[in-house]
């Protein structure tokens, strides 16, 4: 891409012609506030929070949508822009329940952050407020459209990224709201329960049911790891609180999944602390598996393998290593078979 020169807030910047103003600014450490913008999605330009001033342009331009052009002179932080952004936040809050105390997204809410940044305590505008039923028509995803800011991110991610298209806006104008056709519960739509809509919702309008009330964003420790399901290798953050995984998210634009997850990646963590987990070695005694100490169990394993090797040779022992385990564990397992026992009888379920 062609390199071009622009000026943002008095700073000369060299950027490439395929960048938007917001991207070019971000590349150079200038953050432009936004709400409907998401890196995974096509720009939309609806929230008007990211408006900037461009010399010579007819009116203000949405920085998420507008591509830079040679010689563009941009201002992102004028008094007028500040006032307009504040008005927009005030308008949004005039139709938004102020229940941040109990809202699932408090601390992780773009609207809350904006209100904080622009010092909007209470909306000066009064008027009709939407009252929608909270929709928890399935075990995973809750929709509370009272908190919706109509950024369309749920609709767009479902359509543009997932290609599923569960939602669209229903009605128009003040009555517009995202929704399923004929208001059907999610299970009666093609919904795959990937929770991508949850991941992109900037407010508490769409939230995950399993993690509800399990911890605020600042109460959890995020541990970056790799998803344990299929071979895509999506990068995920395990949200850990008090020794438990309470939620899973994916860092946007990181790793092969670029922040996208499927139903298993996002919601398939409940097995980790399931009561069925094995917590002690077991040894078969009188036909039954009973608890035993590690010493006892390991000794028995070693003794039994040794016995087979001694009586029938190393190739009478077989090892199944695991496509579920780490590289290091697999390495050690084949080393065990080859170096410690002396057999190449090692395989795993790659064939299954």
């Amino acid at each position: 891409m062609e390199e071009i020169k622009i000026n943002i807030n008095g700073r000369d910047i060299v950027t490439s012609a395929d960048r938007t103003i917001m991207e070019a600014a971000r590349d150079h450490g200038i953050e432009i506030p936004n709400l409907c913008y998401e890196e995974r999605l096509e720009p939309y330009g609806s929230c008007r929070i990211c408006l900037v001033e461009v010399e010579g342009a007819r009116g203000l331009l949405p920085s998420c949508y507008t591509r830079v052009t040679e010689g563009m002179v941009i201002r992102t932080n004028t008094d007028e822009l500040h006032r307009i952004r504040k008005t927009i936040i005030e308008l949004l809050l005039s139709d938004h329940p102020v229940d941040c105390m109990t809202c699932e997204r408090a601390g992780n809410c773009k609207l809350q952050d904006l209100a904080y940044e622009y010092g909007v305590k209470k909306s000066p505008f009064e008027g009709e407020v939407h009252v929608y039923d909270i929709l928890a028509d399935n075990p995973l995803i809750e929709r509370d459209y009272n908190k919706c800011v109509l950024c369309g991110r749920c609709i767009r991610i479902c359509r543009e990224v997932q290609g599923v298209g569960v939602y669209d806006f229903v009605n128009r104008g003040f009555k517009a709201v995202p929704g399923t056709p004929y208001g059907k519960p999610l299970q009666e739509t093609p919904c795959e329960f990937c929770g991508q809509c949850v991941s992109t919702c900037p407010t508490g309008a769409i939230t995950s049911i399993p993690s509800k009330g399990k911890g605020r964003i600042w109460q959890v420790e995020k541990v970056r790891t790799t998803c344990t399901y299929c071979g895509c290798g999506c990068q995920i953050d395990l949200h850990v609180r008090e020794g438990k995984v309470v939620e899973v998210s994916s860092p946007v634009m990181v790793g092969p999944g670029e922040g996208n997850l499927c139903v298993k990646g996002r919601y398939g963590y409940g097995f980790i602390d399931h009561p069925d987990r094995l917590t002690s070695p077991l040894i078969r005694k009188k036909g039954k598996l009973v608890e035993a100490s590690w010493e006892e169990a390991l000794d028995l394993v070693a003794r039994s393998i040794r016995k087979a090797v001694d009586t029938s040779g190393p190739d009478s022992v077989a090892f199944l290593t695991s496509a579920r385990c780490t590289n290091e564990e697999n390495y050690l397992m084949q080393k065990l078979a080859r170096a410690a026992v002396g057999t190449n009888n090692i395989d795993h379920c790659a064939r299954l």
Partner: protein
């Protein structure tokens, strides 16, 4: 048209306005009578002649004497009398005459005499369903000339020279716009005719499409050639069934003649047109929303840039022009851009069609050269305010426009001059208001319209206009507070600056202009709890004139709250405590004895 020329030609105004006024009955009566009797006439129809206030009308042309008379306010009975008196007896029925061709001062003759018709050149003069009639008045000469004798650059130059600006409202120079689309990279390009005339109070596009569809199509053929688009779309409101029908007929005829399709006018240029019916969304008049709608999506606008000229329909370069703009193009090509530019002001050239409606005496279509003053349009053409009442305001540009007071009547019709007042030229709607129109209510009305029509995409328009509307409603209900005016003003400014498209960007205009020019009415509502126009229900009281009330009981029956009492044949009374000011009684009273204060 028969081979033998009859002496008289009868042309019936057969547009939506005429039909709404009863032209169908007139038509049937005429047809039956002509078939049975032996009148030396042939019948034809035409679109709206402009005298909407006199519909149904017919124009009787005496071919022998080269003289014509327009009769108005007809019905099935009256039209038979015209046949009888005028055709058989050769006697003009003076009292029904709207216009005489030899005496512009007679009747309503000055309505037309004060106009300068270019866009409406054929409206009401030819049968819109006949391509032959269009060709007979020089139709398709311009397209032929452009395609066979001019390069596309020359066509664009000619249009640029004419100074023609987008008549949809924004007033962007048409030649420049075409130039952008011409230069845009891409093999596939589209031309769209925006016939989604949604402004309440504007009907010139409908009138042109119904009265002279070929001129628009010819304009499209020329425009398509100029920008390099082989496919054209006409995006027309579904609310205009007659316009749609006539467009379809016209396009059929053109296909038959080889004027549309492959290798048109014997050249190797291909051009075709598809009609897309709107489905009821005002916002689709906005270019990007219109394109979304053509593509089969919700008509929600997208930010610009990228402009349609570079990335439009199906992401291909697209040029969008309004009906009136396109209808002017053939004239410009035929007569030359310079000729067109002779009319008008320095920056606004040519003519503009206005729709006069509201409390104006002669409502209808008025095409005047740019530079005429509002006073000339409203008083000289429109005949001033109805029932001799006092002019209070003119609303220009519909929900995107503004209300201008009498002091500004000398403002010339010119994009920049009108914009300076806070209104906009808009598409050409002019609603005249008199003392019985409440300006706060009118502002509230327009805002409720934009609120209703807001697509909901961007926050300022979706919530901002809603909050403005709520404040205005509050004021109309007498619950306004003085700070509301300030609040409206600042909110309006932010909505204008921050909205995604022109719908939101101009939505506050009616409020801002009324605040500016009719602040006293706001103050009356807020401070004195008075609606001087007697419109806002919460601020009025209904009275029965005991002198004229006959005690018929019509009002009593209809009153939903039982606020009216009175013995039969005795004057009735309204209990202001119970009255909810629904005004139902007012409309029911046969003697007009009920009034609001």
């Amino acid at each position: 048209m028969g081979e033998e020329r009859t002496r008289y030609k009868l042309v019936l105004g057969y547009g939506t306005c005429g039909i709404a006024a009863g032209a169908n009955a007139v038509k049937t009566a005429l047809e039956e009578a002509v078939e049975k009797g032996s009148y030396d006439v042939d019948l034809d129809i035409a679109g709206c002649m402009g005298y909407c206030f006199k519909e149904p009308i017919i124009e009787v042309t005496d071919r022998e004497r080269d003289y014509s008379v327009v009769y108005g306010d007809l019905d099935a009975k009256k039209v038979l009398q015209v046949l009888e008196e005028h055709i058989l007896n050769g006697r003009v029925i003076e009292e029904w005459v709207v216009r005489k061709s030899d005496d512009p001062s007679f009747g309503e003759g000055d309505f037309l005499a004060n106009q300068h018709r270019i866009v409406l050149r054929n409206c009401g003069r030819i049968n819109p369903e006949s391509i032959d009639e269009y060709i007979a008045v020089g139709g398709y000469q311009a397209a032929r000339k452009a395609l066979t004798q001019m390069t596309s650059e020359e066509v664009i130059d000619e249009v640029s020279k004419s100074g023609l600006r987008g008549r949809g409202g924004a007033g962007f120079p048409t030649g420049t716009k075409w130039g952008f689309a011409r230069k845009a990279r891409g093999e596939e390009k589209y031309l769209v005719c925006n016939a989604d005339e949604g402004d309440p109070g504007a009907f010139m596009d409908r009138s042109v499409l119904e009265g002279d569809p070929h001129s628009v199509i010819e304009g499209m053929i020329i425009a398509g050639y100029a920008i390099g688009a082989k496919q054209g779309y006409i995006y027309c409101r579904a609310e205009y069934p007659l316009a749609l029908k006539r467009l379809e007929i016209a396009i059929d005829h053109l296909h038959q003649r080889g004027y549309l399709g492959k290798g048109i006018f014997g050249t190797d240029w291909d051009f075709d047109i598809k009609i897309k019916k709107g489905a009821g969304a005002f916002v689709c008049g906005e270019e990007t929303a219109l394109m979304a709608s053509i593509e089969g999506r919700r008509g929600m606008p997208n930010p610009r840039p990228p402009f349609p000229a570079n990335e439009g329909l199906w992401r291909k370069p697209t040029n969008i022009n309004n009906v009136e703009t396109l209808a002017a193009v053939p004239w410009i090509i035929s007569h030359g851009g310079d000729k067109y530019a002779e009319l008008g002001t320095e920056k606004s050239k040519g003519t503009k069609v206005f729709c006069l409606a509201g409390k104006v005496r002669r409502s209808g279509l008025a095409e005047v050269p740019m530079g005429y003053t509002l006073r000339q349009v409203i008083f000289d053409v429109g005949g001033g305010v109805r029932e001799g009442k006092e002019f209070k305001a003119v609303q220009m540009g519909g929900p995107s426009g503004g209300c201008l007071p009498a002091e500004l009547l000398d403002t010339p019709v010119d994009y920049e001059a009108i914009t300076a007042t806070g209104a906009i030229m808009g598409s050409g709607g002019m609603i005249v208001a008199d003392s019985s129109t409440c300006m706060v209510d009118l502002a509230r009305y327009f805002l409720s319209f934009t609120q209703e029509e807001s697509c909901g995409k961007c926050v300022p328009c979706r919530i901002g206009t809603k909050r403005m509307l709520e404040i205005l409603t509050r004021i109309c209900e007498g619950k306004g507070v003085p700070e509301d005016m300030e609040k409206l003003q600042t909110l309006a400014a932010d909505i204008k600056a921050a909205s995604l498209c022109a719908l939101g960007g101009t939505a506050p205009n009616p409020v801002l202009t009324t605040l500016k020019y009719f602040r006293n009415e706001y103050e009356d509502h807020i401070l004195r709890h008075k609606c001087t126009a007697g419109v806002c229900p919460a601020l009025i009281t209904l009275f029965i004139n005991e002198e004229t009330c006959t005690g018929c009981g019509a009002c009593l029956k209809v009153c939903p709250t039982g606020a009216i009492s009175g013995e039969k044949k005795e004057p009735h009374k309204i209990d202001p405590e119970l009255c909810i000011r629904c005004k139902l009684c007012l409309s029911r009273c046969p003697t007009e004895s009920i009034w609001a204060e």
